[in-house]
C-alpha cells in the first residue's frame, strides 16, 4: 500500500532534480560560451598588436621585443604566442620548453589545448599579411583560472541546490500533511468506529470529504435502524407465536387430557419441538453479528446488571464474580454479547456448586472471555460431542437445551473461537477468543 504523501514527495524530488540539474548545467554552458567570445576579442587585439610588432630590419623581418607585452617573455606566464611567418616559426619566450602545436584552422579553437604545467589554453589563430609576407599568428591564454572558478561555482551550486531541495521537500511534506489532515482524521475515526469507541463519524471541515463522511454516517444509521426494526418485528412475531404456545402448554394440564396420557405426551413432545425451533431461529435472526461497525459492549456498565439478573434467577446463594480491566469495551453488539454471556453464565449457574466466575481480558491478538464454574465439568472425551450443533449441554437441569446452540451461533457470527477446558475451580471453563480487527 503506497501513501499519498510518499508518492507526491517522490514525484517532486525527481522533477526538482531534473529541472535544477538542467538549469544549473545549462547556465554554466551559456556563461562559458559568453566568456570565450569575450576573450576572443581580447586575443584578436593581442594578435593584431603582435602583428604590428613585426618589423623589417637590416637583418630581416623580426619581432620588436619592446612593443610586445612583457608577460609573453615571462616563462609559463599563461600568455603565449606562435607566429608562422613565411615558414619561419617564432615562439614566445613564455612557452619556454613547451611544444605547442600550431592549429590549422583559424579563429577561436573549439578545443582547449594542453599547455605547460597542466594549463589549459584557449587558442586564437588568424592569418595576416605583413611586409608582403603571409603571417599566421596564434595567441593562447591560460583558461585554468576560469575553469577553476567554474568548478567552484558548480560545487557551490550543488551544495546550495541540495540545501534548497531539502528545504523544498520539507515544505512540501508539511503542506501535503496539512492538506491531508482531514483524511487522517477520518482514518482515525474509522478506526475508532471499528473498535467500537464511537458510533458515527464527525463532520470534517473540508468540502471534498464531506459527502463521503455523510454517506458513511447515513449508511450506519440505516443499518442500525434496519437492525432495530427487524429486532422489533421479530419480537412481535415471537410474542404472537409464543402466547398461543403458552396457552397450549397450560391446556395440556387439563383433566380432559390427563385421561388420555399417551395423546397428552405426544402433543407435549411436539409442542416442545416447536418451542425449541422457535427460540432457536428467533434467537439466530436477532443476531447483529458484524453488521454494525460502531457497535460496542461496555463491560463495566453491562456485566454487573447481567450478574444481578442471574443472581435473581438462580436464587441459591451462588457466588458470582467477574474480572475485567476498567473501561474495557468489546467491539461487538451489546445485545449479542448479553445473549452470549447470559446463556453461558446461566448454564454455569445451573451446574455450579457455589462459584461462577467471568473473566474478560484484552490481549494482544484477541479479546478473551472465560466463564468458569466449580460444578462437575465435562469429561475431556465428551467435550467435542457437546460442542456439536444442537447438543443439549443442559439437558438435565431446567432449560431448553438451547443455550449452547445460540452461543455457537453468536460465536460463529463474530468469527470467534470457542473452546471447552477444565477450570481451576474444578468445573467447566468455556473460553471464547474474539480476534482483534486489524487497525
Amino acid at each position: 500500500m503506497g501513501s499519498i504523501q510518499r508518492r507526491i514527495g517522490l514525484a517532486l524530488l525527481i522533477s526538482l532534480l531534473l529541472a535544477g540539474g538542467l538549469l544549473a548545467q545549462g547556465s554554466l554552458w551559456l556563461f562559458d560560451r559568453g566568456l570565450r567570445n569575450y576573450l576572443q576579442s581580447d586575443l584578436r587585439d593581442e594578435a593584431e598588436s603582435l602583428l604590428r610588432a613585426i618589423v623589417r630590419k637590416q637583418s630581416g623581418v623580426q619581432l620588436e621585443a619592446q612593443t610586445v607585452d612583457p608577460s609573453f617573455h615571462r616563462p609559463y606566464s599563461g600568455r603565449y604566442f606562435l607566429i608562422d611567418i613565411d615558414g619561419q616559426l617564432w615562439r614566445s619566450r613564455s612557452l619556454w620548453d613547451h611544444e605547442l602545436g600550431m592549429p590549422s584552422s583559424s579563429g577561436l579553437q573549439e578545443q582547449l589545448q594542453g599547455g605547460p604545467q597542466g594549463q589549459h589554453l584557449l587558442v586564437y589563430c588568424a592569418p595576416f599579411k605583413r611586409q608582403g609576407l603571409p603571417v599566421r599568428i596564434c595567441v593562447a591564454q591560460d583558461y585554468n583560472p576560469v575553469l577553476q572558478a567554474f568548478t567552484r561555482m558548480q560545487q557551490f551550486a550543488l551544495g546550495f541546490g541540495a540545501g534548497l531541495l531539502l528545504l523544498l521537500l520539507l515544505a512540501q511534506r508539511w503542506a501535503v500533511r496539512s492538506a491531508l489532515r482531514p483524511l487522517e482524521q477520518v482514518r482515525q475515526q474509522l478506526q475508532q468506529l471499528e473498535q467500537g469507541r464511537r458510533s458515527a463519524l464527525e463532520l470534517v471541515t473540508v468540502s471534498e470529504l464531506q459527502p463521503l463522511v455523510e454517506q458513511i454516517n447515513q449508511l450506519l444509521r440505516h443499518t442500525e435502524s434496519t437492525l432495530q426494526r427487524s429486532r422489533h418485528a421479530l419480537g412481535n412475531l415471537g410474542h404472537a407465536l409464543k402466547t398461543p404456545l403458552a396457552v397450549l402448554f397450560t391446556l395440556l394440564q387439563r383433566d380432559e387430557f390427563r385421561a388420555h396420557e399417551a395423546l397428552r405426551q405426544s402433543l407435549h413432545e411436539q409442542l416442545l419441538q416447536v418451542r425449541k425451533r422457535l427460540e432457536r431461529e428467533l434467537g439466530r435472526a436477532r443476531l447483529a453479528g458484524e453488521v454494525l461497525p460502531g457497535a460496542h459492549f461496555n463491560c463495566a456498565e453491562e456485566v454487573p446488571a447481567l450478574l444481578d439478573t442471574l443472581r435473581m434467577i438462580h436464587s441459591r446463594g451462588l457466588q458470582l464474580e467477574w474480572q475485567g480491566e476498567t473501561g474495557l469495551r468489546l467491539p461487538v453488539d451489546r445485545e449479542d454479547t448479553l445473549e452470549l454471556l447470559g446463556n453461558l453464565l446461566d448454564n454455569a449457574c445451573k451446574w455450579a456448586a457455589a462459584r461462577v466466575q467471568l473473566t474478560i481480558q484484552a490481549q494482544q491478538q484477541a479479546y478473551v472471555l472465560q466463564v468458569e464454574d466449580d460444578g462437575p465439568g465435562i469429561e475431556a472425551s465428551e467435550r467435542e460431542q457437546v460442542l456439536q450443533r444442537g447438543s443439549r449441554l443442559d439437558e438435565e437441569v431446567a432449560g431448553h437445551g438451547l443455550g449452547l446452540a445460540i452461543v455457537r451461533d453468536i460465536v460463529d457470527s463474530w468469527g470467534a473461537r470457542l473452546t471447552l477446558t477444565q477450570s481451576p475451580l474444578g468445573g467447566l471453563c468455556v473460553r471464547i477468543e474474539l480476534p482483534r480487527k486489524a487497525a
Binding site: 402466547t243 398461543p244 394440564q253 418451542r275 447481567l306 439478573t309 436464587s315 451489546r334
Partner: protein
C-alpha cells in the same frame, strides 16, 4: 395467597386462572395496563404476574410506577420477549423474576412458590417446612412427624398463608384479603371454622387467638 395476573391474552389468562386456582391461589385478572397500574398498589396482593406487552400502558412502565410509589410486592414478569437484554431491563425496572413464554405451568408454579417464600424470608426448599409441619405445595399435602394429614383445598390455603407468616399476628380482615380474590363473598365465620378445623388436626396450640386482634401461627411444639 392472593395474586394479580396482568395478561392481555384471554385464552392464556383463562387457562392460567384455572391452573392457579387449582393450586390454591386466589387470583384477580386484569388485561389493561392502566387498570393494573392502579389496582396493583391499591389491593394487598402477595404477588403480581405481569405481562409486558399490554394494551393501555406498557408493562415495564407500570412496574416502574409501582416501584416508584414504594410498592415492594414481588413481581414476576411473564413475557414472550426472552432475550437477556430484555430480561436485564425488566429486572432493572424492579421485577423479582422473569419467565419467558411459552413455559410449563409447573415452572410458573415453582417460580411463584419460590418468590413467595423469598418475599417472606424463607429459604428455597422443595417443600415448605415451618413450625414442625411439612407442606407439599404441589400435591397440597401436609405431614406431621412423617404422618400424612389430609387437607381440604380451603384448609390448605389457610395453612399455607399461616406457614408463610410464621409467628406473625394476622387479623381476620388481613386473612380474608389474602385468601380470597376481589369477587368472592367474604364471611369471617368461615375463617373461624377453618381455624378450628386446623386446630383439630394439629392440636389446639398450633394457632393462638388474640382476642380482638386476630390469629398467630406458632406451629407444633
Amino acid at each position: 395467597m392472593r395474586l394479580l395476573l396482568v395478561e392481555d391474552s384471554v385464552e392464556l389468562a383463562d387457562s392460567l386462572l384455572a391452573e392457579l386456582g387449582r393450586h390454591g391461589y386466589a387470583v384477580d385478572w386484569l388485561a389493561d395496563g392502566r387498570d393494573a397500574a392502579y389496582q396493583g398498589i391499591s389491593e394487598p396482593y402477595d404477588l403480581i404476574i405481569l405481562d409486558l406487552g399490554l394494551p393501555g400502558r406498557p408493562g415495564l412502565e407500570v412496574l416502574r410506577e409501582w416501584r416508584g410509589k414504594g410498592s415492594n410486592t414481588p413481581v414476576l414478569i411473564l413475557t414472550a420477549r426472552s432475550s437477556w437484554a430484555e430480561r436485564i431491563e425488566g429486572l432493572k425496572a424492579g421485577a423479582d423474576d422473569y419467565l419467558s413464554k411459552p413455559f410449563h405451568p409447573e415452572e410458573l408454579l415453582l417460580r411463584i412458590q419460590a418468590l413467595l417464600r423469598r418475599a417472606n424470608g424463607l429459604s428455597n426448599q422443595p417443600e415448605l417446612v415451618v413450625g414442625g409441619l411439612q407442606l407439599d405445595e404441589s400435591e397440597q399435602r401436609v405431614s406431621l412427624n412423617g404422618q400424612q394429614v389430609e387437607l381440604t383445598a380451603a384448609e390448605f390455603r389457610l395453612l399455607r398463608y399461616f406457614m408463610l407468616h410464621n409467628g406473625q399476628l394476622l387479623s381476620k380482615s388481613q386473612l380474608s384479603d389474602h385468601l380470597y380474590d376481589g369477587e368472592s363473598e367474604r364471611d369471617s365465620n368461615v375463617l373461624e371454622v377453618l381455624v378450628n378445623r386446623l386446630r383439630s388436626k394439629f392440636g389446639k396450640a398450633v394457632i393462638e387467638t388474640r382476642r380482638g386482634q386476630g390469629y398467630r401461627f406458632v406451629g407444633v411444639r
